[in-house]
């Protein structure tokens, strides 16, 4: 993998990549969430050995739900991630002046990088960059009724919602005899939803339901392809995606592995996600070029 020099140098500096167990069949630097936890425990390091102390952090954020590992991020990291999120929003068709609702926790990456009002030290979130108007509902399932209230009164063009909240939201809509004209974008940390489920939700809600690929531990998000199902186009400038296949695999299927090129104060090289799929180069039917991720392990 052709990594930039700064990333290689930083990877040599931070403790994680010197502390990984021997795995002869894995490419160098590859690591999992369990590795992060093991390093955190062994070294008493809440950052899982990923923090580069050359960059004093402005913000400390828990990396993922249920994972006691934290990001140490600078203001410029926050800014870079917001730019990546804004690009994802643009590819989802979100434009200036649109209202964007977020049904997720304030600490979810889908929310944190959405507005400069949602996290300290961020100059401009995705909504600020694009000139959109965001509203966040928080991510508790029992706030589904309030989410419907937002849909009714704010009338957002798009609702981003964590997949685990789709059932409470659908039930609440049904109970209230309500519907939504908002487009729905579902996300789920390292657990993409299958096409059948997406279609079922779409039929149930009577609206277009899309999915954005998301992995919180490497701070990765990728918008869906406009034409190919279960296909996602990560930002080439922000991520290197690969497939980890320790054993030879037909069709090159393996674990999607992410290197984050956008952030500097926490170093993410070859984080192995739980997402199974393939990575393809070349032009896509949608017209995009570059690497795309095709998720394969869901029905």
């Amino acid at each position: 993998m052709n990594l930039p020099d700064w990333l290689i140098a930083a990877g040599r500096r931070v403790p994680l990549y010197q502390s990984l167990p021997e795995r002869p069949n894995w490419p160098s630097y590859s690591h999992t969430a369990e590795d992060l936890e093991a390093v955190a425990k062994a070294r008493g390091d809440p950052f899982g050995g990923r923090h580069d102390i050359e960059h004093p952090p402005d913000v400390l954020i828990q990396a993922a739900r249920g994972l006691p590992i934290y990001w140490a991020l600078t203001a410029s990291d926050l800014s870079a991630l917001s730019t990546v999120l804004a690009e994802s929003w643009t590819r989802l068709g979100i434009t200036t002046g649109q209202r964007v609702a977020l049904y997720d926790y304030a600490t979810s990456p889908m929310v944190v990088y959405a507005s400069r009002a949602y996290v300290p030290h961020l100059d401009a979130g995705a909504a600020d960059i694009l000139g959109c108007l965001p509203i966040c509902n928080d991510g508790l399932p029992d706030l589904a009724d309030r989410c419907i209230h937002i849909l009714e009164y704010v009338q957002p063009s798009v609702l981003f919602v964590d997949a685990e909240l789709m059932d409470p939201l659908s039930r609440a809509l049904e109970r209230k005899g309500s519907s939504t004209v908002s487009r729905v974008v579902v996300t789920s940390d390292e657990a993409p939803v299958g096409l059948a489920q997406i279609r079922e939700w779409g039929a149930l809600l009577g609206t277009e339901v899309q999915q954005m690929l998301r992995a919180d531990a490497p701070l990765f998000f990728a918008p869906p392809c406009a034409t190919e199902p279960m296909t996602f186009h990560p930002d080439e400038g922000a991520y290197r995606v690969e497939v980890l296949s320790p054993e030879p695999s037909p069709d090159d299927v393996g674990q999607i592995t992410v290197t984050n090129l956008a952030i500097r104060s926490s170093i993410v090289i070859r984080y192995v996600t739980n997402v199974e799929g393939v990575v393809r180069d070349g032009s896509c039917r949608c017209g995009r070029t570059g690497r795309k991720v095709i998720v394969t392990d869901v029905d």
């Binding site: 809440p46 952090p57 402005d58 913000v59 400390l60 954020i61 828990q62 993922a64 739900r65 249920g66 006691p68 934290y70 209202r99 977020l102 926790y105 304030a106 600490t107 929310v111 944190v112 507005s115 400069r116 009002a117 949602y118 996290v119 300290p120 030290h121 961020l122 909504a127 600020d128 000139g131 108007l133 965001p134 509203i135 966040c136 509902n137 928080d138 991510g139 508790l140 009724d145 309030r146 209230h149 937002i150 009714e152 009164y153 704010v154 009338q155």
Partner: protein, 437 residues
Amino acid sequence: MSTRRDSNEYFDEGETIPPETLVDERWKAIGTLVDHAYHQLPFYRALWNRQGFAPEGPMDAAAFRKVPITRKRDLVRAFVDGRSMMIGTEALLGLAPSNVVMTSGTMGFNTFAIVTGYDLDGASTLAQARELWMIKVRAGMRVLSLSPAWHALGLFESRAITRIGAVPILPWGTLTPRFAGDILTAVTLLKPEHLLVTARAVRMLLAECDRLKLDPRRAFASVRYLGCAGESLSPVFRTHLARRLELEEVFERGGSSDGMFGGGECFAHLGHHVSADVHYIEIIDPRTGATLGAGQRGTAVVTNLSLGKSVYIRFDTEDVAEVISGDCPCGRTHPVVELYGRLADSVVLPDRIITPADVRGVLDEFEYTRFRPFSMAWKDADGLLVRIGGVTETDPAERSKLEVACSARLSVPVSVLAGEVEHAGWKEERIKRNAEG
């Protein structure tokens, strides 16, 4: 608890502006605001027209009292009728809205408000930065903050942390029991010096320590200060928190998503300094509508003095409050407002208002009722009836002592009963009740 001023006590020079200057500036700002609202904001024009009010000439105390009070039900009706998040209270001055925020929905309906970048960089964040500074948040300090992104004060807090230059710690989730473990882990691993949470969240964290058989003094060893929002803290509860967590100081924070104002305590702990160049707080008698002076209880009525957002003008927050008399030892010239809790949870008598905070203060002085849930109701024949939850039987002598203490403190007859608490008047419960209703 500290009792004197730091060498860098103030966030900015605005905190010690001479009171007469604050008053002059206030009436100028209110004059602009009322004129703008009447001519540009359909909600206020309609509300005031219905009540026969039209602004005439410059504003002063007498003229401002003629401006009709805005009630929560007026706002709710406007939202319901318009079926929109904008109802004509948005004084945006041609600026693009940057965020939509909500109220907590204590009437069973979450109202909306609009914020612009002008406000996020301006008056509201200045007021919040002063509050955080007052409660000892400093540049470079690690501060655990879990402010919700739907709440205006959460947004202002986020910008205020930026302005001060503190380093926020953001554990996953929100301030509910399911995330107590995440929050506690973040405290133990990342070692914040300051916690900005709710009283309910602190109780939840202490319960989590108990569950894990963890000594809170060890778990919270790094924490020096606690900024606690959400309810009025009894003196005993403050002492309890300071002792159990080994804190240098506990600060109460108060404010409202309705009205988008807040205020923190200085070291004197007399109440909440509300930035008088950003908000004007009046205390209104809920029985007569009269404006009350310092030292008298009524409901806090807020007027935002800056534009560039949804503005609240003479908005009755329905929170029981009083302006504390006299100068504050901290030297700030902005008024100190003590907040006691919701009017709906209080007993309003012809000559006084008894709030749950008053009763809580007495109950916490007795071991068998300390920190227990309770409800209260007024019975004309018997006086105040206080029901204590989680106590199955009481020693008659203890109960009698408690009743005597309550009666003496509240100056009304008080009966204390053990048993089920139907509706403790706390906010979360009321929101749930109203939503279900």
